[in-house]
Amino acid sequence: MEGITKNFPGVIANDNIDFAVEEAEIHGLLGENGAGKTVLMSILYGLLHPDAGKIFIKGKEAENYSPAQAIKLGLGMVHQSFMLIPSFTVAENIILGIEPTKSKLLLNRDRMVNDVKEISDRYRLNVDPKARVDTLPVGVQQRIEILKALYRGADVLIMDEPTSVLIPSEVEELFKALLALKKQGKTVIFISHKLKEVLAICDRVTVLRRGSVVGTVRACDTDMEKLAMMMVGRKVVLTIEKRGTMAGKVVLKLDNLRAFNDRGLPALRGIDLEICESEILGIAGVEGNGQTELVEVLMGLRKAEGKVFLDNNDISEMSTGKRIEGGIANVPEDRQKRGLIEDFSVSENLILGSQSMPPFAKWSRTILDGKQISAFSRDSIKGFSIKTPSEDTPVRHLSGGTQQRVVLAREFRRKPKLIIASQPTRGLDVGATEYVRKRLVEMRDQGCAILLISADLDEIQVLSDKIAVIYEGRIVATKPVEEIKEKELGLLMGGGKHD
């Protein structure tokens, strides 16, 4: 791709980008959210057309083509969210749209299964063609997507954030498969913002920043620090400076918590946990193992058996409001669902949950004190560098990172005893992630107990003092962070036993 430029109203998504990938290469495409990765790949795949620039595929110039033509040219795309029909078998999904037929009318089932088996074996992707898709784990579903592309004759696979849905063991499997593909002469474009993975699997890496190419480097010639600097444009502290453990007395104690999920199935099957002052306890686990329910129980939003103690007081029966007043802060995983009211202004969001407490409410908590709220908002905007035109701007007009700062400002300024932070950096770019993590550690140093829930193992390892692994509603292990290896973590998260 040469000199690719794509403008959207108000932004240059791609600015004169040169990008070249060789045969039998795994090429990383790295950049923050909004750096232009996805736009560039959409152009390559024919979903978008560039305003300027040329595209050469296998030496031949290609112009104005559609995704269907891109497939014919040997390109294949594996999307972030899979496009599979759950009730179909693997083979049925793969042949969909280009079904082999008998006398042009009947589906040739034998050939279908054989074709798929053959191609699965050739690339050692190890998929059973007759299995129904909805019975298979996410990692396998992703391999089906890869097979789909290969079956259509793809030589170049474009993979958009392929590891974001996988657990560590599945990531390993995927990497093995990708290396096998490379050996057979296939090319992979690996889009990611995770430095570690890019370094682990790619031969070369191209870094994008604000729509332009910062550079292309060989993976063996670089390291995480350098890549991060290219991505963000300044030095980034990846390892958070953290004082040693100094955990104090127990702040939160959970005693045999049991709860059901929305479908009435057991989600928590007896959780015991303790978190102390100045301690970050990281909960590692594949999503859907009870994390969401645990947070809801702690906030008083879901009924549960068992006891919750905050500072030795039994708060199991307390309302959400009382718990917040009692010193629990919540940085929710889903900002839209639990965190912010998008039609509320920044200042209205900043007092959410404290609206009927002094200093925001006067006259026995009935009237809002506009002056105090304004002052508090301006302080928060300054203190948390919230980029907003004014405190009266609705938060829907703010970027994801800025919205998260609003949440942090609100929750941290309540002077909580306990902070529950679920996926606090999800969807944020490197700069914003760094900021959130720093703030969390700062709160810990000031004496807060922090319950960190994250699907990002790196995050858990970087931030936590202690790690607890959750699997199917149980805590299967709790250890200080120094005593647990990533491999062991991965095993525990996947339900494996450790010795």
Binding site: L301, K337, R338, G339, I341, D343, S390
Partner: protein, 359 residues
Amino acid sequence: MIDVEQKVKQFLYRFGTELQRVLPQTIAILTAFLAGAIVLLATGYSPLKVYSAMIKGAFGDMFGIGQTLTQASPMIFTALAFLFASKCGLFNIGAEGQLLVGAFATALVGISFHGLPAFIHTPMALLAGALAGGLWGFIPAILKTRFRAHEVITTMMLNYIALYLTGYMVNYPFKAPGWVSQTVPIEQSAELPRILQPTQLSASIVISVFMAGILQYILRKTTFGYQVRAVGLKLSVAEGSGINIKRTMVLSLVLSGAIAGLGGSGEVLGVHRRFIEGFSPGYGWDGLAVALVGGLNPIGVLLAAVLFGAIRSGGMVMTRTTGVPLDLIYVLQSLVIFFVAVPMLARFLKRDRFKWRIS
């Protein structure tokens, strides 16, 4: 200096957004009148003549203005009632019933006490209306928060209960002598003064405007109003931030019902001076339309109610002077609803405010 500049900027920003909000409504209303003109042309009348007769009838003299505002005031109450519940994400279409029970309770207080001074009797009668309307809002609120019965169904059903209950009352136990289904006149000490004789415009309009101000204050400046808006805009977030959802909903519906009930009081104390069966031509329903045309904003409601009142009062004058049948007035009113209220309603319903889980 910087402070002043900031203030100016903020003011312009707010002014701009306000203007943006009002613009589509205004355009839609103009479009409605344009469409109305086409209907008039098609039926052989001159739109220019008809409209000018209407405007003259509605605003041309003191009498016209009085009639317009008389028509507007019950609609202001019912529109405010719908508006307040909607801010909490609730769809109260029971304003008609709440207005009826409010009117009847007011009439009851108005006829039952004798010899009270006016400054006690009138407020008592108003309070009775508010309480009865509030009760009529409390029932669906409890049904919703306890038994998850949707308020659209329950408020609608309560409309019929109110209609037939008050109908029974004025046909049997409280029927005045004579063949009209009505109560005896209320005591003079309970009456709201007429403020623009000889029209029927009463102090009720003052109360309604005052109500709009109070509601705006509650919504913007009180913790309760803040919680109401939070629940209405995003229930799950409100719940997660510790707001007592059920309590907020119950209070909102009670307050909503009380406002509609006051509308009934105003009609009884100011206009009819007794409860007459069928005195409301559907003020509750008109209130819904007025609230939507007013952009679910208290100030907007005042303007929209005047518009609807003008269509009514101007329409009657127009019928007399131009011979255009009254039905065309309803066509015009429906066009306004069609162009303004229906799109708003669709937007309002599309939000996921109505889904909620009671854990």
